[in-house]
Amino acid sequence: MKALALAIVALVGGLLISATVDFPDWGDPASPAALHVSPRYIEKTMEDTSVPNIVTSVLADYRGFDTMFETTVVFTAGVACFLLLRRREPRPGPSRVYRHRASGVIVEMSQAPDTEPAPEVFKRIDDDWTPHDLIVMNVCRLLIPFIQLFGLYVIAHGHHSPGGGFQGGVILGASVILLALSWDLRTASLRMREVATGLMSAIGVFIYAGVGALALAMGGNFLDYAALAPILMVDPVAARSLGIFFVEVGVGLAVMATMVLIYKNLASEGRLDQGL
């Protein structure tokens, strides 16, 4: 069976590689891909959408419909993780671990206490006795606002430089995950609750599809941002540029929230109480 599988892999690989002889040369300026649709994007982007970054205009306008569904794919992945992983019943075993803040002594309670010990004296930590590292915790706490600011910049600056909603959203999401890694999952959950992640991922995609539907309601085709010109009170080309910005914000929101949602469920086996 293994030999058969190897033979099939070799055969398919051989076919695919031998087919490449008919391909245009590497970087050939006369290749069909360079001559057919690309020239229009390169020459007309500024005129059509007033977005200097051609990649952004192709992604969010010419082929914006694909990008909307790519955002939906991200959202779907988050919902799928939630559906399969999230468990409401508590972790088996009643033991809880606390760190005495002043002395650093770790106390393991074999039974869950009736009342939580005072949080300013005893800090609850994960079962695996996460080490206490002052430097890591404080450096990360200082870094996180700057990371988030940079994330916002990347989202907003997608029109002019590499970036946009996906990249900015990932940076924003990573900032929350950094908090969960350097502190713990409970702290991160306090800053961004489960309901917030769930709602934001749906609302992010809704912003994208909603801008498209608004264009439809204004008499244009779906996602034809130019139709938004009357309500934005700008000319159609500027409306396209603004429309791209709105959907990028939606993408950023959806990607950030979905990343946090997936991380929380994966790290805590769906219980959202502790993990990594």
Binding site: L15, L16, S18, A19, T20, V21, D22, F23, P24, S31, P32, A33, A34, L35, H36, V37, S38, R40, Y41, D61, Y62, R63, G64, F65, D66, F69, E70, T72, V73, F75, T76, A77, V79, A80, F82, L83, L84, R86, R88, V195, G198, L199, S201, A202, I203, V205, F206, A209, G210, G212, A213, L216, G220, N221, F222, L223, D224, Y225, A226, A227
Partner: protein, 502 residues
Amino acid sequence: MSEQYPALVVIGPLLCALLVSVAGWLRPRLCLPFALLGLGISAAASTGLLAQVLTSGPVTYRLGGWAPPWGIVYQVDNLNAVVAALVSWVALFNLAASYRAVMTDYPEKIGPFYTLYVLAVTGMLGMVVTGDAFNLYVLLEITSLTGYALIGLGGGRAPLASLNYLFLGTIGASFYLLGVGYLYIVTGSLNMADLAKLLTPLYGSLALLAAFAITLVGLWMKMAFFPLHAWLPNAYGFAPSPAASLLAPLMTKVMVYVMIRVMISVFTVEFILQEVALSQFVVWLAVAAMVAGALLALGQRDLKRMLAYIVVAEVGYMVGGAWLGNKLAMTGAILHIINDAVMTFCVFLAAGCIYQKTRGTAFEDLQGLFKKMPWTMTALAAGALAMIGVPPFCGFFSKWYLIRGGLEAGHWGFVIALLFSSLVNVVLFFRIFEIAFFEPMSHGHGGHEGHGEHGGAVALAEAPLSMLLPLMAAALGLVALGLATGPLVEKIILPIIPAGLG
């Protein structure tokens, strides 16, 4: 408004899926109404679209207002319009039937469940109406991802079955993407109509052949065409019943539609019949699918798994019909997409009703069911007769076209395999009826130990009305579709059969 139908078919359910998700967090009670609204919009819009296409010809819809090949277009002719209407109506009926099952099994997760359900339908509809090869891939991703999650939610070995499906499905989708990538390298276009034009001068190129082969194998993997079917029986057998009765009827059928679309609208039949010349080989594969599906179904001791293997055989009918290379067989294949979706829906929904009451679909659980659930079993019988191919149920007519196509092509293997698999269906279903009709109720299910010795005192324990009504509608639909075969073929299918077919 009517010019916006193509967009509404897909956008309605997408927006509503997001509303369902929000409602799932805030007001779970509103999940089902939003889901019904979304699929209702797409059902209404796709029906309107079908009427529009039939009266005034194919419709092109430019998304974002951009002309092809620069932007993405929806290109709707008779074929997509009828498949879109089929998908949205079947999904809507199944949704209406799903409520009780979801509330019993996943009361805490109705939000995410319905979100993924509606997104799965969005993906299928998007694949059906699109005229862009890459856009199709994106929607395929959505449908696959939602499918993995919905299947993995089932009990028992469902997570493992879903993981298997995920591996094979991902390979299949990647193959399709690779094929589209090859096409883009040699043409620079992703628009289907544009591709068809640009590919003509490239006939004979190895890159084109490789692109065709890899696209096709990818699609076969997603539709579980023998011998790439290994993921299907477990996935559909273990899936929660509302998900099984959504995915089993629609997913494979949509993929067969995509295959036919790629064959006739991207590569064109001239290319396939003259340049590829693999028709004989593929039809023999289809023969193997029919025979293997039928034989493997015989070995099952569980209703759902048995039905899953029948799906494998049915895929063989449609792929074989599409590759026989004549008009009759292609008509049969397209007609069978429609008929098979409704009959698979009917039998899987009946299995879902049975599961709802007996909490199992193994053959032992079916004892005495004709007394206990007469309506459900009647519908199952209707579905069975359609699958066997008894007139006036719809299965007969598509099989009739397929057999005539096989005879015209002189392919005896196909004709014999089709008859063989129909005969095996007779055995399969009558075995079920024997158990459900003649074997006494097994004790311990209803707690009727005191009486019921002669089976006469078995209490009626029919599935809830919300499940029975859609099931009855599906069963009646089988007859209605059968009686409507004439106009269906004349008005809808024949005009789109490519002239290149013999």
